[in-house]
């Protein structure tokens, strides 16, 4: 609430009462002197009450530290009155960074009795784009009953809040690759393994677990036989993100960084939500390393790492893949997300071949940086870019690699949702 009017009353009272006091003393009019005296007593009491009201009030915030863009976020506050007096008209200001407004003003009108706590919740929205924002500080404000004096207290409760990019399901990536797991999984293959899916019965071999002896078959055949189960497969998804600073282009929502982060987030979320083990690698200003893991918590961690990346790296995407290629498990899916279409196609072919030879299924997504507003270098002529895109598509087709090329003029949500995303460039 604006303080101007209360300050105006206070200044007026100082002036008017001072004038009345002077007049009373100089003219020897006791009533005027008493008026000034009474008025100043009132101001003194009001100032003391305002300070006293603030002294023993505390507030604390409790908010889940992350959300997606446009999500509604409930923010809980607990207002403690540690004094013995009842509190009224307590104004609280919070600063929720991801919201449009700089500050959120809240009012607890009271009465909040002494030695009591009241829990309050306000709901706001993450209206700003993805990133790390600050929440806080909190400011408590009280005043005397006449509103003449305000007392404020800043509570240094500043916490980071992560806003993740909105994620859309990527329809094009199938359950392409998987690796064996020790834990029972939904996906199995008809090879001997440890799944709960029954495969058959075979002769007992030394070292077999006695608990797996199939007693009916053993009795029928007169020789020990054991049960065999299918092997479990865990879908395994590795994402290599190109954070080379040479591929920066565009600004704000139409920039290569924006596209790379959004596409990465969608890929990670889609893969994680269907149960994949997800791993992310990148080399920006600092290394982007999300070790393999599954589940929502892991995906959240991956998103948290993704929103902190900067396109300030010096390592090319193909070098990055080269460094980590040997650690990508056979049978898994590896997605190469590049910020440019101008990759060295000969080297790309070599990399794709190396991955395929290890049983890894590569997927390539190229973001055409030359379709964005150029920042520090000229955009390549359209004809040259089109020729490169054609060459890349030919390479994908020849190697049987799912690939997609995305440009600034395409709607990312619609493109990623297309079932034929990876066939379009063929």
């Amino acid at each position: 609430m604006g303080r101007a009017h209360t300050a105006a009353y206070r200044r007026f009272l100082y002036a008017a009462l001072g004038f009345a006091g002077l007049l009373g003393v100089s003219l020897r009019v006791e009533a005027l002197t008493a008026l000034a005296l009474g008025g100043f007593c009132l101001l003194f009491l009001a100032a003391r009450q305002a300070r006293g009201g603030r002294a023993r009030l505390t507030v604390a915030r409790d908010v889940y530290p992350s959300a997606f863009e446009d999500d509604a976020v409930p923010v809980s506050l607990s207002l403690d009155n540690r004094s013995h007096r009842t509190s009224w008209l307590v104004e609280i200001r919070d600063s929720f960074g991801p919201a449009v407004a700089d500050r959120q003003a809240l009012l607890e009108p009271g009465p909040l009795r002494g030695a009591r706590r009241r829990r309050l919740v306000y709901r706001t929205a993450c209206s700003r784009p993805w990133g790390i924002y600050a929440v806080g500080p909190l400011t408590l404000s009280t005043s005397d009953p006449f509103g003449l004096f305000h007392a404020e207290r800043r509570v240094p409760d500043v916490t980071p809040f992560a806003v993740f990019p909105r994620v859309w399901p990527v329809a094009g990536i199938e359950k392409l690759g998987a690796r064996p797991s020790l834990s029972p999984q939904e996906f199995t293959a008809a090879r001997p393994g440890q799944s709960l899916a029954y495969l058959g019965v075979r002769d007992f071999r030394p070292g077999d677990d006695l608990r797996r002896i199939h007693w009916p078959a053993t009795a029928r055949r007169g020789a020990p036989a054991v049960k065999e189960h299918e092997v479990d497969l865990v879908p395994y998804f590795t994402l290599f993100v190109d954070l080379d600073r040479a591929h920066r282009a565009g600004t704000g929502l139409k920039s290569t960084l924006e596209y790379l982060v959004r596409i990465s987030a969608c890929l990670v979320w889609t893969a994680a939500s269907r149960g994949d083990l997800v791993e992310v690698r990148g080399e920006g200003a600092r290394s982007l390393e999300v070790p393999p893991g599954s589940g929502t918590m892991h995906a959240t961690q991956a998103l948290y790492e993704l929103i902190r990346v900067q396109q300030e790296g010096r390592l090319t995407l193909l070098d990055l893949v080269e460094h980590h290629r040997t650690h990508v498990p056979a049978g898994s899916t590896a997605t190469l997300l590049s910020g440019t279409i101008f990759l060295d196609l000969a080297r790309l072919e070599e990399t794709l071949g190396a991955l395929q030879s290890r049983g890894v299924r590569p997927v390539v997504i190229l973001v055409n940086k030359d379709s964005f507003l150029p920042i520090d270098r000229r955009a390549v002529p359209r004809e040259q870019a089109a020729a490169q895109a054609r060459a890349a598509s030919t390479l994908f087709r020849s190697r049987g690699v799912p690939g997609a090329i995305l440009s600034a003029d395409q709607d990312l949500e619609a493109e990623l949702g297309r079932a034929d995303l990876f066939e379009a460039s063929w």
Binding site: M1, G2, H5, Y9, F12, A16, A20, L23, L27, R28, V29, E30, A31, L32, A34, L35, G38, G39, C41, L42, L45, A46, T58, N81, W88, L89, E91, A99, A101, D102, R103, Q104, A105, L107, E108, P109, G110, A115, R116, R117, R118, R119, V121, Y122, R123, T124, G136, P137, L140, D144, P145, F146, G147, L148, R153, R154, V155, P156, D157, V158
Partner: protein, 381 residues
């Protein structure tokens, strides 16, 4: 949790009560001045009561229309011009009254400022504050004070009390108007708080006036025929005034509550949020800080650090058990150098193998005092 936004139905009775307080203040001040310096018959008082009530009702109901037609700069210019002209008029009137000491002139001034009071009430919604009618009411109280006796006592005591009630209701109304509408029931609480705060001042003034009745301005010359009213007549006039004030207040309360619908303005950078309120719960008892027996210089350093933490807690800083001293130092809004010094000394004294030196103990105590003094003065977070 229930959603209890503010304003709306909650603010409506407070707005109406504020109008009543303003009306009562205006009527009390005007009647006191009129009783002091004019015949103060029932007809004059009745006329003043009706005129002030009508002016306030019209001002509260239609004042927004006048304000809506004025731009911000025009409004400011108008306010400054009116304030300057009014200030000049007050100075002139008081100088003339005090200088001449003519009771008749004071009577005319009382009448003039009563009319001005009605005018201010008519334009009550024009400014951001209700400073105009409040200032004019105080001028009327000052005029009544010059008369001395019961009139002056009643004018000063009642004026101050009614001013306090008006300010309290005005404050509550403005705060509630600045937030989303809801059903806050604050009228009773606001009146109680104001009454409790005003009681010592009003009682003190009453006792003072009973023990030492105020004398009139010495240089006032009363006409021989009308040497002023006797105290009994003034008391009877005040009794009649109470009846008039009650009737007028009822009218003002009803009409303003029926007609007034507005909300406060807020900076576009700030968003007033509706709140969901949980039930009030008792605060858990804060366990006292564990009193470990640290002796010697080690103990002095640890105690200095614990004192800093206690001071930080008083200032609203909450540390979690998982936070290390260095985590706390990174978050504490205090001068950096002494904070780093006491943190280092504490870590050494609390966890280090060696007994600290006397210099270190003294340095820790000095740094602790510096941090405690500077807590909250530097926003470092």
């Amino acid at each position: 949790m229930s959603t209890r936004g503010r304003g709306g139905d909650g603010v409506s009775p407070i707005l109406a009560a504020r109008s009543v307080a303003l009306y009562a203040l205006s009527l009390h001040a005007a009647a006191s001045a009129l009783l002091a310096w004019t015949a103060g018959d029932m007809r004059t008082l009745g006329l003043a009561a009706v005129a002030l009530a009508l002016a306030l009702i019209i001002g509260e109901s239609l004042g927004g229309m006048i304000g809506a037609g004025l731009e911000g700069t025009s409004r400011l210019r108008l306010r400054v011009t009116v304030a300057a002209a009014y200030g000049g008029l007050v100075i002139l009137a008081l100088t003339a009254a005090v200088g001449t000491g003519e009771a008749r002139l004071l009577g005319q001034e009382a009448l003039l400022f009563t009319v001005l009071q009605a005018a201010f009430l008519l334009l009550v919604d024009l400014g951001r504050t209700h400073l105009g009618p409040v200032a004019n009411a105080l001028v009327l109280v000052v005029l009544a004070s010059l008369r001395g006796g019961v009139v002056a006592s009643a004018a000063v005591t009642g004026g101050l009390a009614l001013l306090g009630f008006f300010l309290a209701l005005d404050h509550a109304a403005r705060v509630l108007q600045a937030y989303p509408a809801g059903h806050a029931r604050l009228l009773g609480g606001t009146l109680r708080r104001a009454a409790v705060s005003l009681a010592p001042v009003v009682l003190g003034l009453t006792v003072l006036f009973v023990l030492s009745p105020p004398a009139p301005l010495a240089r006032v010359r009363f006409p021989a025929a009308a040497a002023g009213q006797r105290d009994e007549e003034v008391a009877a006039a005040y009794q009649r005034l109470i009846v008039l004030a009650l009737a007028g207040s009822g009218l003002v309360f009803g009409v303003v509550r029926l007609l007034r619908r507005d909300r406060g303005a807020r900076s576009p950078l700030e968003e007033a949020m509706p709140l969901e309120h949980g039930a009030e719960e008792a605060l858990p008892e804060v366990p006292p800080l564990a009193q470990r027996d640290y002796r010697g210089r080690r103990g002095r350093i640890v105690r200095a650090y614990v004192d800093v933490l206690a001071r930080a807690r008083e200032a609203g800083f909450r540390s979690r058990p998982s936070q290390t001293p260095r985590d706390i130092a990174a978050l504490l809004p205090a001068p950096a150098a002494p904070l780093a010094a006491i943190t280092d000394l504490f870590v050494g004294a609390r966890y280090g193998p060696d007994e600290p030196s006397e210099e270190q103990a003294v340095a820790a105590e000095r740094a602790g005092r510096a941090v405690a003094a500077g807590l909250g003065h530097k926003n470092r977070v």
